[in-house]
Amino acid sequence: MNDEKETLDPVKRRDIIKNILIVFLAVLLVLTFFSNTIMNKSLAEISTERAMSGKLTERIRGSGIVESNQSYEVKTDGNKVINTIMIKSGKEVKKGDVLFTVGGKESTDLTDAESALAVLELEYQKALLTPDADYSAENQAINSARDELNTAIAKRDNAIANQGNVQEAKNNYSYNKNQLNSLTKLQTKLQSVITAIDTDEYSMAAAEYTGEIIALKNNLTDAESAYNTAYSEYMQLISGGNSRYDEYSEKNPTEPETETTSVPTEIPTVPVQNVSTEEIENARINAEEKESIRDNAKAEYENYKYNLRADLVNQLADTENQIDSLNIMISDYENSMDMDSAMSIDDLNDIVQAKQTALEELIANLNKTKSADENQAKIDSLDLEAKKQEIDRQKQKIEKLKKENEVTEIKSKYDGVVSSVNVKPDEETIPDMVLAVIDITSEGYTAQITVDAQKAQKIKKGTQAEVINNWSGNVEAVVTDIKSDKTAGSRNKILVFSVTGDIESGSGIDLSIPCGNGNYDVIVPKSAVYEDKNGKFVLTVTSKSSPLGNRYYAERIDVEVLSSDEVSSAVQGNISQGAYIITTASKPVSPKDQVRMKDN
């Protein structure tokens, strides 16, 4: 390297140095000439607007639908067919102008109306045939009740009049009853005695009617017993081998004879051993005596019994006759004395009262029924009247329908502008169908806009709003009313505008409503107002003259924003009208930065 330096020619070295100096000076010269241009290219390019004085108006914007203040709906009453439509939406019409021509159509309405009329007339005729009210059953019931009442009254009166006789009859009745009881007992006793006589069993017979028969029977029994004993002894004496005795013994072995027996008259041929004939004869005589006694006692008993029975039978017959007589008397009395007769006068009075009440109820019910029937009759009469009127109306309707079917033109009733046409040719209409809507232009148009209540405070009635979509140029809108929004929970206000000009109902309208304006000394573009920790400020441009021309510098001016609209802000500060305000810059600009103006 040192060798290279040593070999370098001094002349060549001077040339190199000279060339370097020339290049350096040339560059310096160029930079000097273009310094301003180069510097300008490095500066932020800005665009400015001048601060102006004037009006600044805050505006509220909104959109609404234009509605006619009054519109007229063209309707048809019947079923028709649209033949021709003479109008279209937006067309101006005069009163009397033909809007539609319609053709008659086999109206189903007319057929229906006639059918309805027939039904109504039938119902009316049926209503006329309604029968009158029949109260015969109720009257019969009342008469029966009245008869019962009269009977009860008569019984009561009779009871009051015959109060003494009744008592006597009652006493006789009681006496007869007692007599009957006595005779019945007697009858029973007599029957028991007769029965005892018939059966020869007197243990159950009344003693007072048996007389001596029991004693006679005892005598008979004793005589029988004695005879049997004697006979038995006799038979014992003669029984030794005597077949007759054996036969007798076999015939009456031990018990007393119940039938009267007789002592044999012939002594057996074979006597008993050790018994004498005398003894046998004595025994036979004794037996025959005993037999005789027995027969007498028996005859006496039988006679007495016969007589006694005949006597008792006579008594019994008398007694039964008396009993029958008493029974007849008692029966007569009881027949003559029914339940009512047995009642007291108070009971009879109660019965009379009850019958009276029942009768009154029946009469009241009848009156009530009659009253209800009268009312019903009135109602029926009114219904009949109504039916008659309905029939009349139906007849009128039929007449009208018949007439309507003949109508061929529908005309406008008012001057106005057609807002809408709702039918097409050959379309069938139904009753009350809206064929077209015609805005009555003389009544004007309205539009409504809902705005925040706070904003609405800045708007006054009568304020003219700017119509943004005023394509025809003659539409005007004026605030006519500010009313509350009735929607639940809404804090909005509804601005009502009167809209005039070439406009149709149903079209949208965009409005800009000025809400207070003021004159301000300095108005700057809204985008030119910046803010930092020291508050709001704008950047203005100041110029300084130099030999190479004007130089521009950004300058910060603190401001207070007084009011703003969408594009401008009115400010107050150390700024005057006409100042150049920096609105945009190609790169961030700070106060005191040099800037360059945008080439126009």
Binding site: E58, R59, K458, K526, D532, K533, G535, E566, T584, P588
Partner: protein, 376 residues
């Protein structure tokens, strides 16, 4: 041999320093490209404010009604730090927004286009680095809340022009007017994240008119939903603003939010130090859906993490070289150090002597002057 080593070291140092410079320039350009994150600096050029963003999940429950709460919470924190609002000055500007949905936008003529609707509130346009082409931004103080800010793409699709402020647009039949037209996203990350669908920004109040169309009722909180809250907050001490915002969200909206300090997110030390956590960007553990500007910032953040980390690496060799040179010089210059030290001591002594001399002369002059005055 020594010369060769020296040359190699010099070349390496030169390359490292060049790399450092290049990476610094690239990093600055990238960071500057995300103007969204510089609102704090715009608001206060002294750098005393921080821009904090908070992103929330769709179901977080954070709504417009919550905005006043968080503002009160932040102002309360500032009050404790003796920072109170001044009259006519905003102490903590804020903005909130939420993606609302896509819809077809029509104009007065035949133009129509699909657009992505974002509901915005507060000082949204102060925070965004939009370039306004035409018109102006709408604000909450406007009388009418039917303004819409659209991007250039939508303006062209509808009207074939970008100067369309004041014109009408219709969303589902509801009319809005174009308040302003903004430039399309400019940087590569923004374009990537914003997609092809044009953007339209509407106020929350203006969106109420769309309730019926979007099936939203007044009672439904969806139309009040806020998924992005931002504020510019005084930052008297480090992380004050961040903590003030984070303190509000950390309890109520746990796991449903993410807070970002935009003012510091692109700081070289922050990014280089975050290199070890760079893998976190690959992890999606939340249902958070970021707006496109935040996604763009995250892309830049990711890139800057590598750039600033490698930039730091580039400094390693030059620093070692400098230290090595200092050591060698220290060793070689021992005798010079002694001479220098003697000379320094001598110089200091000389200075002290001269100073005393001057002081004595002044004192003498004063003394003489006072004696002269006392003479009759």
């Amino acid at each position: 041999m020594k010369n060769k080593i020296r040359k190699i070291i010099s070349v390496i140092d030169l390359i490292s320093l060049t790399g450092f410079i290049i990476l610094s320039v690239i990093g600055n350009i990238l960071a500057d490209s995300q103007g969204y994150n510089k609102s704090g600096g715009k608001w206060d050029s002294d750098g005393n404010y921080s821009q904090i963003s908070c992103f929330l999940t769709e179901d977080s429950g954070f709504t417009r009604d919550s905005i006043q709460e968080i503002q009160a919470s932040i102002l309360d924190s500032l009050k404790k730090a003796s920072i109170v609002p001044e009259e006519n000055k905003t102490l903590v500007p804020y903005a909130y927004s939420s993606y609302f949905g896509n819809s077809t936008v029509r104009c007065d003529i035949s133009g129509r286009s699909e657009a992505e609707i974002t509901a915005v509130g507060g000082d949204f346009f102060i925070f965004r680095d939009f370039r306004l082409i035409d018109g102006a931004y709408f604000s909450e103080s406007d009388l009418m809340q039917d303004g819409a800010v659209i991007d250039r793409n939508l303006a062209w699709a509808l009207y074939g022009s970008e100067k369309v402020s004041g014109m009408n647009i219709y969303i589902d039949g509801v009319k809005f007017y174009i308040s302003g037209v903004i430039e399309n996203p400019r940087t590569k990350p923004e374009k990537k994240c914003a997609g092809e669908i044009p953007k339209i920004y509407l106020s929350y109040d203006g969106l109420k008119n769309l309730n019926t169309s979007f099936g939203i009722s007044e009672e439904n909180t969806d139309f009040k939903k806020v998924t992005c809250y931002e504020c510019i907050c005084p930052n008297p001490v480090e992380n004050f603003a961040y903590n003030a915002v984070n303190d509000y969200f950390k309890d109520t909206y746990k796991y449903k939010y993410s807070v970002v300090n935009n003012s510091e997110r692109f700081e070289p030390s922050e990014r280089a130090g975050n290199f070890r956590n760079v893998s976190d960007y690959a992890v999606r553990d939340s249902s958070l859906k970021y707006p496109y500007w935040e996604n763009a910032s995250r892309i830049v953040e990711f890139k800057l993490t590598f750039i600033y980390f490698y930039r730091r690496i580039c400094l390693v060799f030059p620093v070692i070289t400098i230290i090595w040179l200092i050591v060698i010089l220290w060793q070689k210059a021992e005798k010079y150090r002694k001479i220098l030290a003697e000379k320094a001591i001598e110089s200091i002594n000389k200075k002290i002597y001269e100073h005393k001399q001057k002081k004595d002369i002044i004192n003498n002059q004063k003394h003489n002057k006072s004696e002269g005055e006392n003479l009759p």
